[in-house]
Symmetry: D2
Subunit: 412 residues, 4 copies
């Protein structure tokens, strides 16, 4: 009775060449064989390599970024056949969690050299560069960008269902036309199919050759299926609605990001990482028509970080009064003690006790019943908003006495 | 065609004695005559005096607080008859807005003397004290508590429907019993009916006498109708569900607070003010049974302040490139310019441009399309979260160069 | 002692032609005479007409939108001379509040006809159209777009300091160049200076003629001063940092919006309104260099709406127990009663009491001390998050009994 | 170069009796030997058993809850010696993460029988009961409380530093006095030291006997060190400031909760689980005096869940126009396509396209630049707030056509 944990639909090996792993592929094509089957309604874990398949190292040189081989990206996990999914359905993807590997707690952000990949500001910043980020729980920091630390809004950069043959042809025609029109621009404006370094999962021989010749590159995202959307808010708890174009959907996912800014401006721009994503899949029959869907839609999850510590300092009080007397689960006594803890704390800045007592009454302090069952102590907390003060009341800040006047008192 | 503004269901005059104004009253009793009628579904404005009816002045002495006459509080606006409301219904109160009077932009917080009113900490702080707060738009600050400024979570301290005679009797019995039981405590434990200074609205003679003898005091809140609940989050946009006990509901409201902390610990504890509340009333027939309601419930509104400034600094970019060339609604150019504005800003702290370019790519910056229709300029904004830095990047803070190392570069 | 309210730096008259009011103007030019002086550190109120100066009526025809005269927009309030401000300084603009006029509680959104103004989707939607919005407190709704109601994120669409003569020349050159380059496009790509219907405030004769010939139009926003930025989050409590280009800054503001979407896509796109803005002005000496500023920056305020009701339902409990016994300020009793209120409420859906008791213990309910000073009743509240249920527990929704199984019990 | 992951300061074995594991203990006493040393500034992982040490099973009977042995709780991990910490210092505890074990993805909530443990409502609900919760990523749900699913606000229920001998004596005196005073109440009002089933870590013989005789029980929390505070918001990213009373601090932690409601009302009230907590420790020298600290304080972390899905539906658009033409990184085209996706979606409810175009312009839609570097497609997103509609526009809801009138059009 009870469960042993969630099934892994795909595992990867970070010490093996990504090009040799059968649960990976790096093109969009309907003929890439499915690497597994997932039930409608099932939740699974899917391991992913980083988008370069391990080309970038945890070191202090950007040589690997400068010399990255862009025919080998992006290695995606999948495709997975989702039972009962058919063209015209919508695949509902509940992202239940995304985590880096415990024994691989780092990621990287790169700026590609203008002549190999480039990026949004490459006219101004043509050199290759790199930053390595270390993960500690929900936070990341980088020895290459000191002074910065934040919680990751962790998400997959790429997810989607396989295109049909018709859609694939549309893509190749449409982007081929642009390449022709822009031949004068002297720079890549789109990436056509490229047989070199194609990885078609378990597809070999004719299939692999066909995928190489026709398969859409994983750059860019495309309206018909989403794909490489790089939406920074598609994080834990988000729900994505993807149109299905082939039987079984053939869903793929990869390019995990510990964090990203809107625009992902340096191209290799997020904090790229290997890791594991937990997804619940369900099929909405006939969903494309029902939702009038031409491109995916999504609903963000409930746990977006605030990117800063809470703005309240919380004080605790217990049902032991200021004379040391113990009361039995008396929440009123506990609340009074919590008030006193704040008075003691704020008094250090030069406030008179009565000023603080007044302030506690009218500033938007948050008063909570924390614990009311652990006999004999009730525990209450009060949060004081730091931002109502024009000086810093954080515990880390100095507590200099200042001239803070007085409240009004009665004349006698 | 069009409307001239929202109807006032009650006006008050701050220069007239509250005890003489017919839209006010200061007891709970079913026989207080209604001062007006409001339709089911109607939105009205209701003016309110401060809870003491003007006993407290905007000055620097707490003599008025020390000598406050507590038989005269709380002056409530109403009661209003709500059309179609009957016992067993629920009155749904949509608080559309609460504002101080434009020509009365101040409020007060008081600590009552232990021997006249007291408060939560009166054993430790027995003296009367006062702070006056000035309002400027959404903010308040006090000359009596320097160093503090915050946005008000503005709300009514008291609102409810009149009790029936049966409920009124329950209250008087219940609280009378407590007074008897606690006679040894040497302090007021409840406030029984009090004919002195009773104000029964337009009710005079026998009615007034009866209200004086039986009417429940406006301290405390009571489970059967809510009343003096002092819930700090009952602010603009909140919706309250009140049980109806008499025909027409006889709704009253007052004791407006510009702000309050949980517990309202000093009794006269919020920022007390006069002002106007805008309410939409609707009747849920049979709601008491439908909701299994014994006490009011509420849903907070959508505009609770964060009690601190936004934690992002936003930069603007337009479709004029770094050489001064004008583009026609080119949002990509605008977004690139916005990135450059941030690089220029953060470079002041000692970061190399490439470090910032990397950071922009992976930190959770918020990139928005601000304006896309004012030819020829697109305008985009990017918000940079202040809290990801371990130093203060606010415009007001100094921008000292610091030693911030380097990102990784290629060896050639 | 005490203050009478905040000074009005400019008043407007909605019944007078905007073109005749001396506190208004509709071009950017350094020679437009200041209409008043504001101290460094002062807070003032500034009234504004709607951006068309009253051309659009509260009615059910879009004829006025179709025939709008775009040479007359945008009427701005100002310019105001800010004491001590000089070129190179930054003007810090604290937006303390924005409100519609009480007797003018409505606004409009327009779609301009393709041949007169146009908009972001005019190739697809070439017709003129209009919606009128009614304001009730913080909310708006429209008889022309039923089914929608929301709280306004109220803000000014335009604010900025006057350009210097040099900057003005840059604008005219830059946009003139674009007009020349795009002459083949068959549509307006920028709006050059236009003497027709110019309003230079109190400037008449030569000044007015010069402003007409050289003055920059109020469409679009421009990088050097901001201006028509249409940033939807520049709402109450926001702080904007504007570069100063002329002595006294010559600050102007207008184009108030009750709400707007990112992009303001229909050009006349926000909910346009007349109203009053409350601003605190302060001067940061040498701020342009200090902040490395090329375009304005801003920090959003603390009161951004969530655009939906709170997601918690709050229940109240008082220190009167389930047998009707009254306790003296006993917060533990009140908290227990609050729990019981929730059990009674949720039981209606088919849950067993023990299931709810378990749920209350582990779901993230918010337990607050609401009031603790109104003798004899303590009042506590508990908020239950609606979104943890897969059915709707709102008071408005039906409360059908459903099959909800059972928790585990002991075998004896 | 690079790191292999974070060090484990303590491991537990869920298949071994908790009473036999040397990294665990179940009393507060200064003489319990440290089970390891942690550097000032170090981040470590600490594994914890559930608070009962495995007494409760993943099954459908509450017999185990009914018969729980409360002399064996709470098994805490530690104590850990923190280098450099001395009495008078403050130990700063950064909770970087808390996770359940991957192969143990479940927890439990119990109601203790009134005669063995009891709880907040035991007078009304005296029976033992239990609910088992399954974890899937950030979410939990229970077969015993159907209809409910939410993201965990995961946190430790107990953490603190060891008491000094003086403080321990204070506790025993204070609570002993209460037990004496309440002997008439016929129920446990506090839990005195209890030699039975004491676990003093690696302490045996005399030490264990002493700990049994004097050691404070882990129920309740106490003002001098915090301990069993059960603060539901002490989640990932939170920072706690704990007073140090003995050399090396002797920090302990345990009683992990996947979620809890304020008050933890059923005593065994949270979702109790085994798992691993990641903590960064640092020592604030002389912090007790600096912070005027009598009880712990804390600052909540940045990732508190909203307990509901995001309230926006996001639509994606790419730089491929409605005729299938491909543009090169044209964000304006992408934004226009995103608008069209919304028009297509909302049209299903009966709105005219022009109504939606107006609405997009003025409702607070969130327009983001999502990806701007994956040639040739820009990707933009627009979020539409669900809550501005008075019907449900979720993808899951039906999309019935309704009568939604018309916006105003021009007469010709």
């Amino acid at each position: 009775m009870g469960k042993e944990g969630i099934r892994y639909a795909a595992k990867v090996d970070l010490n093996t060449d990504a090009a040799k792993q059968p649960h990976l592929h790096n093109r969009w094509h309907p003929d890439i064989p499915a690497c597994g089957t997932i039930k409608n309604g099932e939740t699974v874990k899917i391991e992913c390599v980083d988008w370069t398949g391990g080309q970038i190292g945890n070191n202090d040189s950007a040589d690997d970024v400068q010399n990255v081989d862009l025919t080998r990206i992006h290695y995606l996990s999948g495709p997975f056949e989702i039972e009962t999914a058919e063209p015209g359905d919508v695949l509902v993807v509940d992202i239940q969690d995304v985590q880096p590997f415990e024994d691989h707690p780092w990621g990287f952000t790169g700026i590609f050299a203008k002549e190999n990949g480039g990026g949004f500001l490459d006219e101004l910043y043509p050199k290759a560069a790199k930053a390595i980020w270390d993960f500690e729980g929900i936070y990341c920091s980088s020895r290459h960008i000191p002074g910065v630390k934040f919680a990751g809004l962790i998400h997959p950069g790429i997810l989607g269902c396989a295109p049909s043959h018709e859609i694939l042809k549309t893509w190749n025609d449409r982007e081929g036309q642009l390449i022709k029109e822009c031949s004068h621009m002297g720079r890549d404006v789109a990436l056509p199919p490229q047989p070199q370094n194609v990885h078609a999962g378990s597809g070999e021989g004719d299939v692999k050759e066909k995928v190489g010749k026709e398969g859409a590159r994983t750059v860019p995202g495309r309206p018909e299926h989403g794909g490489n959307c790089d939406i920074k808010n598609l994080s834990r708890g988000s729900k994505v609605y993807l149109p299905v174009h082939v039987k079984g959907a053939k869903f793929s996912v990869g390019d995990l990001h510990f964090s990203q800014g809107d625009g992902e401006i340096s191209f290799c721009g997020a904090i790229e990482m290997a890791g594991v994503i937990t997804i619940k899949f369900s099929v909405m029959k006939g969903g494309v028509k029902h939702l009038a869907m031409k491109s995916p839609i999504y609903v963000p999850g409930p746990v977006e970080p605030q990117f800063g510590p809470g703005r309240y300092i919380y004080f605790e009080g217990f049902s032991v009064d200021e004379n040391g007397k113990q009361y039995y689960l008396d929440t009123t006594v506990a609340y009074r003690q919590t008030c006193l803890r704040i008075i003691e704390y704020l008094r250090r800045y030069g406030y008179d006790d009565y000023q603080i007592y007044l302030l506690l009454s009218c500033a938007p302090v948050q008063g909570h019943v924390a614990g009311i069952v652990d006999i004999p102590n009730s525990c209450t907390t009060i949060g004081v908003p730091k931002d109502i003060f024009d000086f810093d009341i954080s515990p880390e800040a100095p507590a200099d006495k200042r001239e803070l006047g007085s409240c009004a008192f009665a004349s006698s």
